[in-house]
């Protein structure tokens, strides 16, 4: 009983947030349009957080995702400015993400550097590269093909509702990672490494390549989020994705409170990002001061994580 309460505390909290805002803002919050807006606003964070879930399943984490998101946007925009086509620029940016993720994976899995140190190092390298590639400037205007910016403004009509393209991309990533992490032996091995890396190794799991591959997935996800961000603002600047990193980790932690074993699960992460986005949307609509909003969001994250901890020590 206590265990299930603990497990559903965060979900109930999320429901309470939705109900609270719906009562306070009956005309503008619980509308299909606003809820779709929230999914679009959170889509970039969601993709980073889903990708982060892959490394956090192994008990690792990746501090370089925000810097990689910035770098991917700047790489694509610079290539567009140099006359590359949209698909070519996107492919190159995703390749940079994958390569950066592989570097993180090799540093952690093969050289045995702690993820904190390894990804802090690559964070700095990626960030410096963004400044180098862009010359420190924001790339915008005529340099960005109209079709690239239009993608983030577009949507697909489904049963009378216009689902934003960015939301659909995030859903696709969710689906792919859900299948990969929860329904393949690959995913089960990642969680086994997270449970006990030594035991996993003794059980015959090839820990190193698996670990490296998970970092590659995270790098790829970060680059994809960076491209989504660049499309949304129709421009790229060398620091624009940096803020995604801490929010993504917070979202995964929020999601972990919903798992019985306190493991990062992809749907938990989804609830985590939705909580963050809903709070930002609702509190803005209520005209709560931005700084107060920030404090409230932090307090709510701590409250959620603390509640799951308290439950554990009692149970």
């Amino acid at each position: 009983m206590t265990a299930s309460l603990r497990r559903y505390a965060t979900l109930l909290g999320f429901a309470a947030i939705l109900v609270g805002f719906s009562v306070a803002l009956p005309g503008t919050f619980p509308t299909a349009r606003n809820l779709l807006n929230i999914t679009q606003q959170v889509s970039m964070l969601a993709v980073v957080a889903f990708a982060m879930t892959a490394v956090m399943a192994m008990g690792d984490f990746d501090l370089s995702v925000g810097a990689m998101a910035s770098l991917a946007g700047v790489v694509a925009a610079s290539l567009f400015a140099a006359g590359w086509s949209i698909p070519a620029g996107i492919a190159a940016a995703l390749a940079v993400g994958l390569a950066g993720g592989v570097v993180n994976g090799v540093l952690v899995a093969y050289l045995g550097i702690l993820p904190f140190v390894a990804t802090l190092g690559t964070l700095t390298i990626f960030s410096g590269s963004s400044f180098l590639v862009s010359g420190g400037r924001t790339i915008f205007g005529g340099a960005i093909p109209a079709g690239f910016g239009a993608f983030a403004r577009g949507g697909v009509e489904i049963v009378g509702l216009r689902i934003p393209n960015l939301t659909l991309v995030a859903l696709a990533v969710l689906l792919v990672l859900w299948v990969l992490l929860e329904h393949t032996s690959y995913g089960r091995r990642l969680y086994a490494i997270g449970g006990n890396a030594e035991a996993a190794r003794l059980a015959g799991i090839r820990v190193r390549p698996l670990r490296a591959s998970a970092f590659a997935i995270t790098g790829l996800g970060a680059a994809m989020a960076g491209l989504m961000y660049a499309s949304r603002v129709a421009s790229a600047n060398p620091t624009q994705g940096d803020g995604l990193m801490l929010d993504a980790i917070a979202a995964v932690f929020l999601g972990m409170t919903m798992s019985e074993e306190s493991e990062p699960r992809i749907f938990g992460t989804l609830v985590g990002v939705l909580i963050l986005a809903t709070l930002n949307n609702g509190l803005t609509q209520l005209a709560v001061d931005s700084y107060v909003r920030q404090i409230l969001v932090g307090a709510i994250i701590l409250a959620a994580v603390a509640s799951s901890r308290l439950g554990l020590s009692r149970g």
Binding site: A287, D289, L310
Partner: protein
């Protein structure tokens, strides 16, 4: 259970705080990614003073540098149905949000944001007028006759328009001769390369009195030229230097009373007040014809540099 209540209470408090503030007042949301920068604070001081006098409920949203969050908050403000939105960010980067505001019929006003078809108006300083102030100062200071070095930067449109005006004013005086029109390398911020370029020009014109003035399209080249002139021991030749923007370093140099004599300061608080004024007109139902509203800038000389 305890924890749910805890979360619930936090939220309830937030909701109550928000709900109590939501009355029938006109609601204006200001969205900026740059609240921590000093210039933004000056705009807001001017805006807030006027908004308070008019009894508006002002909500300032800071996204701490995050441009995509500006788009999100524009969408939220549009959903919320505020009466007007003020932005202090390049409108081209937040077009997705501007489209939402337009769809909701909410006017968006730019606060030194750049002109854009989806903005009701943009309030800023007049770059043409600022350049005219300093170019005319140089001409008058030289009594209409002398040899001038120009520092310009045509690749950046806001600075390019300053150069065009100075060109016209100098060309309008037959005894003003522009001996060099330099575009410095700005990778290092503009001071160091301008200094090097000015050193070369000084070397090429060794006679005292062979250079009468340096007109710079912004302060950094003026400061670089000042360093070159001082280091060459030619600070007492009477070479007049002018810049634009009146940044703190330039003000210091102007106040010191050396060759750097004048610059132009934008009136940030005045821009904030003019934004409130434009907002009031829009709230009253007026359709603004001016797509850009200029707030006069002020010439800064030794007499007022310390203000």
């Amino acid at each position: 259970m305890t924890s749910h209540r805890w979360t619930g209470w936090t939220l309830a408090a937030a909701l109550a705080a928000g709900a109590s503030a939501a009355t029938a007042q006109e609601r204006v949301t200001v969205i900026t990614p740059y609240l921590a920068q000093p210039g933004t604070q000056f705009y807001l001081d001017g805006f807030r003073a006027e908004a308070e006098a008019r009894g508006w409920q002002v909500n300032v949203v800071d996204t701490a540098g995050d441009i995509a969050a500006v788009v999100s908050r524009l969408e939220d403000a549009a959903t919320q149905g505020v009466d007007a939105i003020v932005i202090n960010v390049d409108p081209a980067q937040v077009e997705a949000g501007l489209i939402e505001a337009q769809a909701a019929g909410i006017p968006v006003i730019g606060m030194d944001a750049g002109a854009h078809p989806l903005l009701a108006t943009n309030v800023t300083s007049n770059g043409y007028a600022m350049a005219a102030e300093t170019a005319a100062y140089v001409v008058n200071r030289l009594n209409g006759s002398g040899r001038v070095v120009m520092f310009v930067f045509d690749p950046f449109p806001p600075v390019q328009q300053r150069g065009v005006i100075a060109d016209a004013i100098f060309a309008n005086h037959p005894d003003i001769e522009v001996i060099d029109r330099v575009t410095p390398d700005v990778q290092d911020g503009g001071i160091a390369d301008s200094r090097a370029r000015m050193e070369a020009i000084l070397a090429a014109n060794p006679e005292p009195g062979s250079i009468d003035a340096v007109w710079a399209a912004w302060d950094q080249p003026a400061l670089g030229a000042l360093q070159a002139i001082e280091d060459a021991g030619r600070a007492d030749e009477g070479i007049v230097i002018t810049g634009i923007d009146a940044n703190p370093q330039a003000r210091e140099a102007i106040a010191a009373g050396g060759p750097f004599e004048a610059s132009v300061a934008q009136d940030f608080e005045g821009i904030g007040r003019a934004v409130a004024d434009a907002t009031a007109r829009l709230l009253a139902g007026e359709d603004l014809r001016e797509k850009v509203i200029f707030v006069p800038a002020r010439l800064v000389t030794q007499a007022n540099a310390a203000e």
